[in-house]
């Protein structure tokens, strides 16, 4: 199956990309060739992954196993998660023309992809879907949810960058830090980026994960909300990010406190995504 080859190559591209962005962070962004190489390697990683996902879909259709979408088990959803993170990062890099953030996002994308490819727990075969998953809601619900997850992942990466930079700035006495930290966008901009990515993620998470999930649940199981662990945890994550947005907008919390909340929120996302399925079970335990 060719899709595996493409997805495997994408893993290596993500690794190379992560190392290149770390190099940029360490050696500075003055070397234009290095910067361009990093962006091109990342973009080709994204293309390889796209090819892999599309091919996998085509392979599934050729197998004639009924309705299928290439994010219907944990392995595929991780690949798609990494894909969303990389795409969102490239958009962010293009919008803000700063590559230092890549050192905090691409390692995350690589880890997600490598987790999918090398963790022995996953069955990577294309398998037919159980009847409950055979619905177009699968496509809409999963894509929108993962756009939200990806935004939260990026906010997490930015929050780590913010906290490291803020600590460096406090120690060195320099407002924007020293050395590699000075290469990052200003604290104010990283802070505003965290807020914006969280708001973007909140939008997609609310609509895609919670609303579409509820409507689909109502169609498949006859109830839009049953306090299943997956549903409850999505609500918990929603509360964490709602809290972040409200303390920022009404209490003017900034900087470190928002960064810590973005980190907490992402731990919630990880638990919602991985922990609920493998430690708690419930109706939603297949993906």
């Amino acid at each position: 199956m060719e899709s595996f080859m493409f997805l495997n190559l994408a893993t290596f591209a993500y690794l190379a990309s992560a190392m290149l962005y770390i190099a940029i962070l360490i050696y500075g962004s003055k070397n234009k060739t290095l910067g361009l190489t990093a962006t091109l390697v990342t973009a080709s990683g994204l293309l390889l992954s796209t090819a892999g996902i599309v091919l996998r879909w085509i392979e599934a259709v050729r197998m004639d196993i009924g309705f299928y979408a290439p994010f219907s088990n944990f392995y595929e959803s991780l690949i798609f998660f990494a894909w969303c993170v990389v795409l969102a990062y490239l958009v962010l890099e293009y919008m803000y023309k700063n590559q230092a953030i890549g050192a905090f996002v691409m390692p995350l994308a690589f880890l997600i992809q490598a987790f999918a490819e090398y963790w022995p727990q996953w069955n990577q075969d294309i398998r037919p879907l159980i009847p409950a998953l055979q619905s177009n809601w699968l496509i809409a619900h999963v894509i929108a949810s993962f756009v939200g997850y990806a935004a939260f992942a990026i906010a997490f990466g930015l929050a780590i960058a913010y906290l490291l930079k803020a600590r460096n700035s406090e120690k060195s006495g320099e407002a924007e830090g020293t050395g590699i930290y000075a290469a990052l966008p200003s604290l104010k901009i990283v802070d505003s980026l965290i807020y914006k990515t969280v708001l973007f993620g909140f939008f997609w998470f609310t609509i895609g994960a919670i609303f579409m999930g509820a409507i689909w649940a109502n169609q498949a199981w006859g109830t839009y909300w049953s306090w299943d662990p997956k549903e409850t945890w999505s609500l918990i994550v929603w509360f964490i990010y709602a809290f972040l947005l409200h303390v920022r907008l009404t209490r003017d919390w900034r900087g470190k406190r928002i960064a810590w909340l973005a980190i907490l929120g992402f731990f919630g996302v990880i638990f919602l995504y991985y922990g609920v399925n493998f430690w708690l079970g419930g109706l939603h335990s297949y993906v």
């Binding site: 196993i65 009924g66 803000y96 023309k97 700063n98 398998r127 037919p128 159980i130 009847p131 409950a132 055979q134 619905s135 966008p185 104010k188 901009i189 708001l199 973007f200 909140f202 939008f203 609310t206 609509i207 609303f211 509820a214 409507i215 109502n218 169609q219 498949a220 199981w221 006859g222 109830t223 839009y224 909300w225 306090w227 662990p229 409850t232 945890w233 609500l235 918990i236 509360f239 964490i240 709602a242 809290f243 409200h246 303390v247 009404t250 209490r251 609920v276 708690l280």
Partner: protein, 464 residues
């Protein structure tokens, strides 16, 4: 309002309460995902020991999402959110309706984005030109002459977007209302019955009390299709509904994700189970005479007209109860029997001394159907729609304002002061503002290079 009511109001109108109740809900909600919900006391005693089990029972941790304290938290959350919003909407509404033409030039000086330039025309003519150019650049403006003879222009976009957060908030109590309506006027029930049977009741979830349907429902057929690897592809119950309100029976193939709506109730294909019962049909190949039988394994069937008897003597079933292999005995009384192994839903020709028979066997299944009556679901969806709309507005629509103040100085020169601001996406607005001033320059209405102040021109906003 009395003093007391006022206290209650301000308690619920406080943001502080909201910032407490949100984390409290987030943390307490975890409990019910860690402690399995809705089991019998014995289960908790076995899993956690008697002390913890009793504590869980006292604190309603065993069905916490409908416990009094959790519901109370949800009610406080909704009331807080509603009162907070009602409390703040009038202020925001005034902001939306604000007469911005009344803004003083002194206020404009404090705006983050400013550009002051000289206009190459006397005041009345300049006024017409500025109005036209602003409109052409997409900023249709209103204007008003001020007492000092100067003219104030104002244009804005998306002022209503300031209401976005309150549209989001309004969705939450509406969803709660929908949930209450569903709980009070609806029910959740299920029924599990073998194919071929007819039912006219379903059983309420929890209480297990029968709820009459008002019509009868027959599972005329149950079908599973499988993938080559044996995984279930889909399963279908063919329903035949005989309703006194309908002149003809209603037929529907019920599948997962394809529910049936009838009389305000929705029927969902939920589960199935193979039974230890088999539908056998035996046909005499010569005469075509056929005998049907529905029997469990181990029970012998006699067919006196043909003087034969048959029996499923043994079955090989998997853990789910599905029979993969069936051992059949077929004989005339007293004769040497034919014993053979066949699969489910297979036809086998049995040759006996006198006749040949076609033997077909099919395992019987019971179908599990969920029934829900939820008149609140559309209210819940309306809440979703409102929240989606509000989120879209908050995320996508920006309130952008442009002021233009046209004045004549003591030397008779005309000056245009352009100011603006936006409530979010400030970087994008900075660019638009620069574009607007450039546009005015390109149209040569504004003399370039004229500098009335020490720091003229566009003051850059936040730099990247």
């Amino acid at each position: 309002m009395t003093k007391k009511q006022n206290d209650v109001w301000s308690f619920f109108a406080s943001m502080k309460l909201a910032l407490w109740i949100i984390p409290i809900l987030a943390v307490t909600s975890i409990i019910g995902t860690v402690i399995p919900q809705g089991h019998q006391l014995d289960y908790y005693i076995q899993s956690y020991g008697p002390e913890l089990a009793r504590l869980f029972y006292v604190l309603d941790f065993t069905s916490m999402y409908d416990s009094w304290w959790y519901i109370t938290l949800l009610i406080i959350f909704s009331v807080n959110l509603t009162v907070c919003s009602i409390d703040r909407v009038p202020t925001v509404w005034r902001m939306v309706r604000l007469d911005n033409l009344n803004t003083t030039p002194e206020r404009l000086q404090k705006m983050p984005l400013k550009a002051e330039v000289e206009v190459d025309a006397p005041l009345p003519a300049a006024s017409v030109k500025v109005g036209k150019l602003l409109a052409a650049a997409g900023w249709r403006s209103a204007s008003r002459a001020r007492e000092d003879g100067s003219i104030m222009f104002f244009s804005q976009k998306g002022a209503w977007s300031r209401l976005g957060p309150y549209v989001i908030h309004s969705g939450i109590p509406i969803i709660m209302l929908g949930a209450i309506v569903g709980n009070v006027f609806g029910f959740k029930a299920s029924i599990f019955f073998p194919e071929g049977e007819t039912v006219s009741h379903v059983f309420e979830r929890g209480t297990r009390l029968p709820i009459p349907l008002g019509f009868s429902m027959q599972a005329s057929n149950f079908e599973i299709t499988r993938h080559p690897n044996g995984m279930v592809r889909e399963y279908t119950t063919d329903l035949r509904i005989v309703d006194p309100l309908l002149s003809e029976p209603l037929y529907f193939s019920l599948m997962v994700n394809y529910p049936l709506k009838h009389r305000g109730m929705t029927f969902y294909q939920a589960s199935y189970e193979p039974m230890d019962e088999f539908m056998i049909s035996v046909r005499n190949k010569e005469t075509g005479r056929t005998r049907h039988a529905l029997v469990p394994s181990g029970r012998q069937v006699n067919w006196p007209e043909e003087n034969v008897l048959f029996e499923i003597t043994n079955t090989l079933t998997d853990h789910a109860g599905r029979a993969h292999k069936l051992e059949i005995l077929f004989s005339e009384p007293g004769a040497i029997p034919s014993v053979f192994v066949m699969q489910d839903e297979q036809s086998v020709a049995v040759q006996r001394p006198e006749n040949t028979y076609v033997f077909f066997v099919r395992q019987r299944y019971a179908t599990g159907i969920q029934v829900a009556k939820d008149p609140g679901v559309w209210i819940v969806y309306a809440g979703f729609a409102l929240m989606t709309l509000g989120l879209y507005v908050v995320f996508m629509v920006t309130h952008r304002r442009i002021w233009a103040h046209l004045r004549q100085d003591a030397q008779g020169r005309t000056w245009l002061m352009l100011c603006g601001g936006s409530n979010r996406n400030k970087e994008t607005f900075d660019q638009r503002f620069t574009k607007l001033t450039d546009y005015l320059r390109q149209n040569q209405i504004i003399k370039s290079g004229a500098k009335p102040d020490a720091k003229p021109g566009v003051k850059p906003g936040t730099k990247r």
